[in-house]
Amino acid sequence: MSHSTQWVSALKGIIGETNVIQDPDQLKGYAVDGLAPRAVVSPGSVEEVSKLLAYAHSEKRTVVPRGNGTKMAAGGIPGKIDLILSMLRINRITEHDIPNLSLSVEAGITLLEVQKKLAGAGKGSFLPLDPPYTERATIGGIIAASTTTT
């Protein structure tokens, strides 16, 4: 096993085989301006993200976080992508305090899910954001790109 695949195997050890994509055809779907990653990892908890980043750091691997990829047309072109960190499995609402008008969510939840939840609770409320692709854009992606409207 070459060193280049060894580190990918180590990723599987951290988050389980089913959460690591290595198939070249699938990886093409994650390419940024034609640049495909070596692997896509989908951690299921903040702790797993922390472990993955610590490992990538020790191996000097570049990491690009990703939600649903709705902002692929924006931003710069990365020089090198070893790892795409998909946040889609980290998508819980962790706290919803209606009387104090606050909500805590994880990065991978879509804005649509948030809006549905807010509309149905109490007297109904909403997050005053309307970026493009509301149904698919994740909260993490919206914050990272500071998207407003197009």
Binding site: D97, I98, P99, N100, L101, K123, S125, S146, T148
Partner: protein, 463 residues
């Protein structure tokens, strides 16, 4: 560096008229509105960005601490020179540089007094929203450094929500632009880092502020309650109804009495709590909204409601609120203002515990607070000449801070951390959280010369 040499160098850089170094001057600049005292070695009052840059570069070259300061109204020791050094007082840089009314922006120097700016804007029908109680004397630079709030921040947000860009002098004297006139500037959001950084990262020499047109209609109500709980529950109920008034201010009985004795604004001295509710916005719908709020007050056993009929009556109500700290100051020789925030829904419960803390330490505590934000200001009254009492004051203050954290809140709402609350940082941040902030500090100020000893604890004690 020898003091005489330092002074002669500073005189060379900014002129004799801008350097203060007599014993009397040092004494005058040794304090802010907290209990902390410490003299700077010298005071410099620059009149331009260039002078600030030169002084900072000089201090950097000679490893002298520098502390930026406005009017010194800050409440947690943020502008006290705890390690000596040069106090850079920015009150002489007090010009409004640009009024871009159509684009809702103004550009000011840091020493502009907040209320002076508002008065100028009022002539054009516009306003700058942040309204710290000390706005008559505080400066914009100081407001940004401490990220000051005020009654209207319930609806409009704190100072950093209204400062869009700054000109900043870096540790080596370089001058950079951060942010700008746009709402969302490209690149890293350094404005977010600078707001409330208490002069520990750089010195602001110019600021771009967001202004707004004056509201078409304003309605101010004074609601009187026989119990604190009813007042607190009214606040929660109003917000729960989906109404965000411009202000939701509360005062307890001790404060009401002090204000009435000092200003005679007509507050009933036997009331347990007063709520000042102000609505602003369009004329249409204002009456209906007022009626909804009054109905909520009645559901919560309000004793009396007074709706201000005109500007004069409105001013009277606000004079009582804005003068509250001063009025309470008449009761005992000293007071310590605490500033904690709890989730709004836990306000009545927290207040009951603050009363218990007062009893435990045998100290009178007056409460004035931005109830809508869950932001408490317990004022602990004492006499600093009584050493035993002073010890109890500090213990009580720490316990109130801890209480706010236990209630799901935090150790500051708008008064900053300074020196006073530095130990409280470990109540809310882990050692790694604080270490991350220290990396920001080190990036801006590698030699720890900007306001050393503030905001971040020296050792990273885990929560």
């Amino acid at each position: 560096m020898e003091k005489d040499k330092m002074i002669s160098e500073l005189v060379r850089l900014v002129g004799k008229e801008n350097v203060l170094c007599s014993d009397m001057h040092l004494k005058l600049y040794e304090y802010d509105a907290s209990l902390i005292r410490s003299k700077p070695d010298c005071i410099v009052c620059p009149t331009s960005t260039e002078q600030v840059s030169k002084v900072v570069k000089f201090a950097h070259d000679h490893k002298i601490p520098v502390i930026a300061r406005g009017s010194g109204t800050n409440l947690s020791g943020g502008s006290v020179a705890v390690r000596g050094g040069i106090a850079i007082v920015l009150t002489r840089m007090n010009r409004i540089l640009e009024m871009d009314i159509e684009n809702l922006r103004v550009v000011v120097q840091p020493g502009v007094v907040t209320l002076d700016l508002k008065n100028v804007l009022a002539r054009h029908g516009y306003l700058y929203q942040p309204d710290p109680a000390s706005e008559k004397v505080t400066t914009i630079g100081g407001n940004f450094g401490e990220n000051s709030g005020g009654p209207h921040c319930l609806k409009y947000g704190v100072t950093s929500n209204h400062v869009l860009g700054v000109e900043l002098v870096l540790y080596d004297g370089q001058v950079v632009e951060v942010g700008g006139k746009a709402l969302d500037n490209p690149g890293y959001d350094l404005m977010g880092v600078l707001g409330g950084s208490e002069g520990t990262l750089g010195i602001v020499t110019q600021a771009v502020l967001r202004i707004m047109p004056k509201a078409e209609a304003v309605k101010t109500m004074l609601c009187i309650f026989n119990s604190i709980e009813d007042g607190g529950n009214t606040v929660t109920a109003i917000i729960g109804e989906g109404i965000i008034p411009a202000t939701l201010e509360m005062m307890d009985n001790l404060t009401i009495k002090a204000v009435e004795e000092a200003y005679h604004v007509g507050f009933p001295t036997d009331a347990a709590a007063i709520l000042i509710i102000e609505l602003d916005g369009l004329k249409d719908g204002m009456e209906r909204l007022t009626e909804r709020i009054l109905a909520i007050c009645r559901q919560h056993n309000v004793r009396e409601i007074r709706v201000a009929k005109d500007q004069a009556e409105r001013d009277k109500i606000w004079a009582g609120r804005k003068g509250a700290f001063g009025a309470v100051g008449r009761l005992r020789p000293n007071y310590l203002v605490n500033d904690g925030t709890v989730p709004r829904t836990r306000l009545p419960e927290t207040l009951a515990k603050v009363v218990e803390i007062g009893k435990k330490y045998k100290l009178p505590i007056a409460n004035v607070f931005h109830a809508g934000d869950g932001n408490l200001h317990p004022l602990i009254l004492f006499d600093e000449r009584d050493k035993d009492e002073l010890t109890r004051v500090h213990a009580a203050a720490m316990e109130i801070m801890k209480l706010c954290v236990d209630m799901g809140g935090t150790i500051s709402g708008e008064h900053g951390i300074g020196v006073e609350k530095i130990q409280g940082m470990s109540f809310i941040f882990s050692a790694s959280d604080i270490a991350a902030m220290k990396k920001v500090k080190a990036a801006f100020d590698p030699e720890n010369m900007f306001n050393p000893g503030k905001v971040l604890p020296e050792t990273e004690k885990a929560a």
